[in-house]
Point group: C2
Chain length 333, copies 2
DNA sequence: CTGTTAGCGCTTTCAG
DNA sequence: CTGAAAGCGCTAACAG
């Protein structure tokens, strides 16, 4: 691999001059530039990113930490981040936190040690205080999918209370009175907020919240099945099931169908997140939009503006969910 | 940020000694080691990965290039790679190639310049020759989802001809005579192989391949819809649709249902890939397993063995697809 | 406009 | 077992 030194020798100039033409950040005479470019070409010179980082203390790369790589949720987000950043000549280093505090912290350290110019974090297990402290550090941080007071300006998040409210209000407006709720892990803030919205809609309609018709799942299909089976065993009547995400809704529907229920004729089901797949299969899932991809894009734009000083559209932190009516929920007869 | 120098001063030893205890690769007296560890602790010292890479010419990170970040397909693969590597203290840098030759090459360059110790590539647009040359270079390469003669030992791939064969044979064994084929992009090798397998099954059954009942999609749901609509407009009779992946199968089923067809009563549909979602919704998709996650794991193991010299299970390159019978295809009445 | 010269933080011979 | 010292490839003052 040719180094900057090889190029400088071949072009008959100094290291510094080669560096200047590579970085295109200082005046170089046209003639010299041409000589250098020719040498670079001849030697197939590629600047060593590592050395450059060490010397300049920036890496033209931003770190992204997501809780998981698989599943339908984070893909679109990562794709958008990568898109925006790649367009600006920056690169993305991805790590996974697996929803575990230790692993999340480790991932952050890894990205920091690798000299990322900024971090985009989707973390759920670390405490707020840790994040506040992190924001004090040298490396700029953006939080996605989480709201932390004190560092509001670094947060890009969905109004989950509203999402929960919209979902339940839709069900109630269809005439359902008895509803079951299939929740995500209760320690997660967004889960709590979705429940809050659910309860607000109930209250507004003068309906009680029934803690028995409530099941705490883990956001995966399997726990959707488990939840449905639990509700069925309970033997309590309910005509609608409100789920905290689409994956669990899918699992629940599968279990319901297997138990001989028709969806939506016998049971209406609401999802949440508007993940791509369920829209394509029967019954199409009614759900709440969660523009996670747009949030990813926004995070990337924030980084571009604040770290790389590109100007552009202004960045907004709070996103609004929307009701998406399809076929899995219908009016109660 | 504390540097190795700060630690050496505080511990009253030389840089070299600190380096030795950090890397744990040379004998250091217990007493010295303790002093150093204490100093590291006190200063909250974190080795700078960039500097370490520059000096040692290895980065403890491996680059992964996938064609796309979104979609249900690559998530599980990346997750497995990350899992295996993280378990060995290595890290993953992910880039996307978007199925475009320029972007794929750029991505490879990026990963190379970042000093990755090895590359795991899922590329589709670059020519074989490029890959062969790449394998000549310093950085070890593993190819996933692609077979290139000459570098067989670097390839981890699925027997797609067999997958195509299994899918079609299943349909024919159910008594279907008229089948339509919804293909992926024809320039892709695996697509061509799936078609080959399809044709072999047809031939074996003494049935002709009908080029009219053939549609080239792009592997996304939208083209599944488009394909179905195309076949419907054609007005030709067929009782089964064989798809080159699950996403297109989902789209096709959606379009079929909207057109008033029942699946599988009026139309049997086969998918390919065994992506998570379609299993959970009605009708559950019959498909061909594509153990992409296992292939990812295998690639990571290869790297562990060949690059980091960890021993372990032996690595096999060729994976066999399996038929997964669910509900979207049934016997013709 | 161009060259010289210190480093960036760490690893790695080579002596001792 | 430990220390001194020479880089890894590049950037960024500072002179000229």
């Amino acid at each position: 691999m040719a180094t900057i030194y090889d190029v400088s020798v071949m072009a008959g100039v100094s290291l510094a001059t080669v560096s200047r033409v590579v970085n295109n950040n200082a005046r170089v005479s046209d003639k010299t530039r041409r000589k250098v470019l020719a040498a670079m070409e001849a030697l197939d010179y590629r600047p060593n990113a590592i050395a450059r980082s060490l010397a300049s203390n920036r890496s033209d790369s931003v770190g992204v930490l997501v809780s998981q790589l698989e599943g339908p949720f984070y893909g679109p987000m990562m794709a958008e981040i990568e898109n925006v950043l790649r367009g600006a000549g920056k690169h993305v280093i991805i790590a996974a936190g697996h929803g575990d505090e230790e692993q999340e912290k480790e991932g952050v350290q890894f990205l920091l040690n690798r000299g990322c110019d900024a971090l985009i974090l989707d973390v759920e297990a670390v405490p707020d205080a840790y994040l506040v402290e992190l924001c004090q550090g040298q490396t700029p941080i953006v939080l996605i999918n989480r709201y932390v007071t004190g560092i509001d300006d670094r947060c890009i998040y969905l109004d989950n209370e509203r999402g929960g409210y919209l979902s339940t209000r839709h069900i109630l407006s269809l005439g359902h009175q008895k509803t079951a709720y299939l929740s995500g892990p209760l320690y997660k803030l967004d889960v709590q907020q979705r429940i809050k919205g659910h309860q607000r809609a109930l209250e507004e309609a003068g309906l009680p919240f029934d803690p028995e018709l409530f099941f705490e799942g883990d956001f995966h299909e399997g726990s959707g099945r488990a939840g449905m089976e639990y509700f069925l065993r309970l033997g309590r009547a309910f005509s609608a099931l409100i789920c905290a995400n689409d994956s669990m809704a899918s699992g629940a529907i599968a279990a319901a169908l297997e138990a001989g229920l028709r969806v939506p004729e016998d049971l209406s089901v609401m999802g949440y997140d508007n993940v791509p797949f369920p829209a394509y299969i029967s019954p199409k899932l009614s759900t709440i939009s969660n523009p996670i991809d747009k949030m990813g894009k926004m995070a990337a734009l924030w980084v571009l503006q604040h770290v790389y000083e590109k100007t552009g559209t202004s960045v907004t932190g709070k996103f609004m969910p929307e009701l998406i009516v399809r076929d899995s929920a219908q009016a109660r007869d």
